[in-house]
Subunit: 238 residues, 2 copies
DNA sequence: CTATTCTAATGGTTAAACCATTCGATAATC
DNA sequence: GATTATCGAATGGTTTAACCATTAGAATAG
């Protein structure tokens, strides 16, 4: 019924005032706040208390601090970074196993690719084909490091094709947390890289003929196959 | 290639050390950190700097502070609150629309219910039926407030049936952000409550006969129908 | 004109003190 | 003896004043 009453902490009041000003557009991205020594007078508080407020605002992703003369607190454009960070923290310390992550990833990538395929434009297909060709070149040169980077770019690009930021930042949070496992347990080699490449070609082909369900099925199978392989490796190494 | 070099801010180092200890389980939920005056000596820093670190940890949802004697920083059980809060900021600033949220919710609830149905035990079905009967009683008494609470409990319970915390975290993050809009634009009435109730009965029935795909389809249709109604209301009110 | 050095503005840190809240011990009261 | 009131100490919250570290731009040297 009721929310916890406002705690009587001065720095929280400062946080609220500045946050509201940013959300209401009274402070636009790029705007520089006055220096600490001036702000503290405006809010009629001490520098220590003001700085605690700035730390909170910084952590919320609302401002960033620059050093030196003409430095200070600058209003940031609000982006998904705090969501990604807090979701990542939840995953890392919330009793989440690799199996949990993989299971979720199969579903979310399936939904995401289906939506992306539905909304794919010719420009999107061309962009994906360009990335695919870069990946193919890496495959031929046995350049696994760059292959993985381009692979990630393809995933990210497909994320943008959904035109829905929620899918994008959930995808990023999962990817950021699952990637270290891949690096450790499933290093790329010629065979795996080719398998990866083939799957992506199939996805692009399905998108070309507007077969969203097929594209979705391929990515889900792809993620599942690689997750299973990794799980197998981990089980054997234990 | 490279990440931005670690800024030379003492409080960030303190944050990292405490955060790592929490993530690694060296500090369990409920553990009380030493008082500020002792911590500052342990980290060989000043109280002001230490307190800036505590503000960041507090904002990350890792600790909470209690006042008075035997007060201090207590390690929190990790939950979705920081994700909910940062997502709410993103929504309020216009980075994410209600349509984005609804579109994502349809997919995630679909996946979640499918998985839950696959793993449903007889005990789960009984628990859902008990909740369903409570909801039915509220319906008969025209008690919309409690109906909504039980409705949320049913969703949450189905989340636990996935046995996968990632689904539960994401479900809660989305739900908590979409709920206020439902309250504002789609107040419950006899007709809507019955529709809601009927959908849930169908889902339980599908789970009873182990038809996960059907359960998934019903919840997706359910979420879509209610989202569309709300969007319509919002459009008309603008 | 370029390169170097200096200067001052600004965030980062420290120290010491005092205020405010809370819990438990002690005392007063019934 | 049980209950209530009072008090004291531990702990977070705030303030002040000073100094350190970084940086942009001005002044200076070549």
């Amino acid at each position: 019924m009721f929310k916890k009453a406002k705690q009587s902490r001065v720095f929280q009041d400062v946080v609220e005032q500045i946050q509201d000003a940013i959300i209401n557009g009274k402070l636009s991205p790029g705007t520089k706040l006055p220096p600490e020594r001036e702000l503290k007078d405006r809010f009629n508080t001490s520098r220590g208390t003001l700085r605690e407020a700035l730390r909170v605002l910084e952590q919320k992703g609302l401002i960033e601090i620059k050093l030196g003369v003409s430095g200070g607190a600058i209003v940031k454009r609000i982006d998904a970074e705090p969501v990604v960070e807090s979701l990542a923290l939840l995953i890392r310390s919330g009793g989440v196993s690799l199996e949990h992550l993989a299971e979720f990833r199969i579903k979310i990538e399936g939904s995401l690719v289906e939506l992306a395929a539905t909304r794919a434009t010719k420009k999107d297909i061309k962009a994906l084909e360009a990335l695919f060709n870069q990946a193919k070149a890496c495959y031929k040169k046995n350049d696994w490091g760059n292959f993985l980077k381009i692979d990630e770019k393809m995933h990210t690009y497909i994320g943008t094709m959904t035109r829905n930021p929620v899918f994008q930042f959930v995808q990023k949070s999962i990817h950021d947390n699952i990637h270290p496992y891949y690096e450790e347990y499933l290093p790329m080699n010629k065979k795996r890289t080719l398998e990866n490449l083939t799957d992506f070609e199939k996805i692009i082909d399905a998108m070309k003929v507007n077969d969203a369900k097929a594209a979705s099925a391929i990515i889900m199978d792809h993620v599942k196959r690689f997750s299973d392989k990794m799980q197998e490796k981990i089980n054997r190494s234990n």
